[in-house]
């Protein structure tokens, strides 16, 4: 059974994405920051990670770097609402670190699902 690790410090966003994923029969493991994500990550269980970038206690860029070390073939989707710099800068960094796809908030959850489907085969 493969699961999707969903990481975002904003609980409403996390819940909305989780509802969407579960409607489409995916199993979801949630984390509210980078530190929790890295602690909950099980390489044998998780094939796809959806992670926000700007979060307290280890941000999404750290998550991407650490999970890529633990499981180089892990598939990653980065999402970001940006900060002062706007989402694009963070998403470019995420892609440079190995994220497969990126979405600036607000994004279409339907488009997100399409990419998840692509990454899970």
């Amino acid at each position: 059974m493969s699961a999707i690790l969903l990481v975002d410090d904003e609980s409403d966003v996390r819940e909305m994405i989780r509802v969407s994923l579960e409607k489409n029969k995916y199993t979801v493991i949630e984390a509210c920051n980078g530190k929790e994500a890295i602690a909950k990550f099980k390489p044998s269980l998780v094939d796809v990670v959806i992670t926000d970038i700007l979060m307290p206690e280890e941000d999404g860029l750290e998550v991407i770097m650490k999970l890529k070390e633990l499981k180089p073939e892990i598939k990653i989707i980065a999402i970001s609402g940006g900060g002062k710099a706007g989402p694009n800068n963070y998403l470019s960094l995420a892609r440079a670190l190995g994220a497969d796809f990126s979405f600036g908030k607000p994004f279409s959850v339907k488009e997100l699902l399409l990419r998840v489907r692509e990454l899970t085969g």
């Binding site: 904003e10 409403d12 966003v13 909305m16 994405i17 509802v19 969407s20 409607k23 700007l54 860029l61 770097m65 609402g81 940006g82 900060g83 002062k84 710099a85 706007g86 989402p87 694009n88 800068n89 963070y90 470019s92 960094l93 892609r95 440079a96 670190l97 190995g98 796809f101 990126s102 979405f103 600036g104 908030k105 607000p106 994004f107 279409s108 959850v109 339907k110 488009e111 990419r115």
Partner: protein, 376 residues
Amino acid sequence: MISTSRSDLEARLLRAQRLETVGSLAGGIAHDFNNILTTIYGYAEITMDEVDKGSAMYENMNRIISAVSRARSLTSQMLTFSRQIDQEKIPVNIWKVVNETTEFLRSTLPENIELIDNSLDNGIFVLADPTQLFRVFMNLFSNAVLAMEPNGGKLIVEIETVGGKKESRRVEIKVADNGAGMDEEVMRRIFEPFYTTRPVGKGTGLGLSVVHGIVSELGGDIGVQSEMGAGSVFTISIPLMADNDNLSYAKETGRNLLFISENMHESAVLRQAIEKIGYKVALAESSEEYLLKIRSGLPEPDLIVFMDEFNGFTLKDIQDHLVREDLKIPVLLITGSQDLILDESFLNSDFVRHFLLKPVSLMEVKHAIEVILTGK
């Protein structure tokens, strides 16, 4: 995957974090707002999946999604407002920027407005981001044109240097119109964010507050004199460049960039600034010119900067051409179109490596170019 050194990425991460913590209220609000919009957008889509297409509920959800799109645009503008604090500065010939702006404006002026440019190129330099200055002047010119609707009038531009001692010398740029003018109350408030005298939906009221912010950051100021029924004069005053000012350069000089832009005046200011910091820049104003500049026998550009689609030339055209010729040239997209940016097929491909929403600053463009080129 683009291979990048860890210390390089850590430096970029630190810079991104520093940008984040520079204490921007607008940045914080935009971030939270985007999260809330994501939730609204997401549940609207989830609901659409559960109801009949064509039903009233489906249509209502569609309207919610349109509203989210408009809200996103407003957040972008708010971010632009807060971003003006960080400017990448280079020596700028003030007359050149004013000239590019007036040339750009001329093509869009109504017939009943006469543009009189009394400025001369006296080699006056300030230290600034020329793309921000272009925005400042465009903003003042647009306001002047609006003030003269529908009867028309004269828009007069002048540049002069003032001040005696070298340290206190400044350049003054005056933009005058003989339009409707303003009363005391309006004059008192026009530089406030979100204050506007235009009807709802016809402007956010951010323009002059952004102008004020940009000019202040340069150590300058902006003033206005006006009389109801007679017109207004805006005066911007900026210190001249000092001899020991620190200048900005690209990380790797000598790289080749190809700009694609239909309007050479709009891109001129940015292109000249990019050249000043050390890149070599070529321009293509049509698909024919683009094909001429990318052909076998010529050195391949390191990067293509695509400034918005126009008739007969779209992003897809470039993508198809590069694929056909098996060229792996990355593209930086600079566009005013939210739709183009939200076109996920470009966002998540290796073709468009980075995109920026207009209006852009030199710092953003320089940073984007560096991210793309050093990631190679």
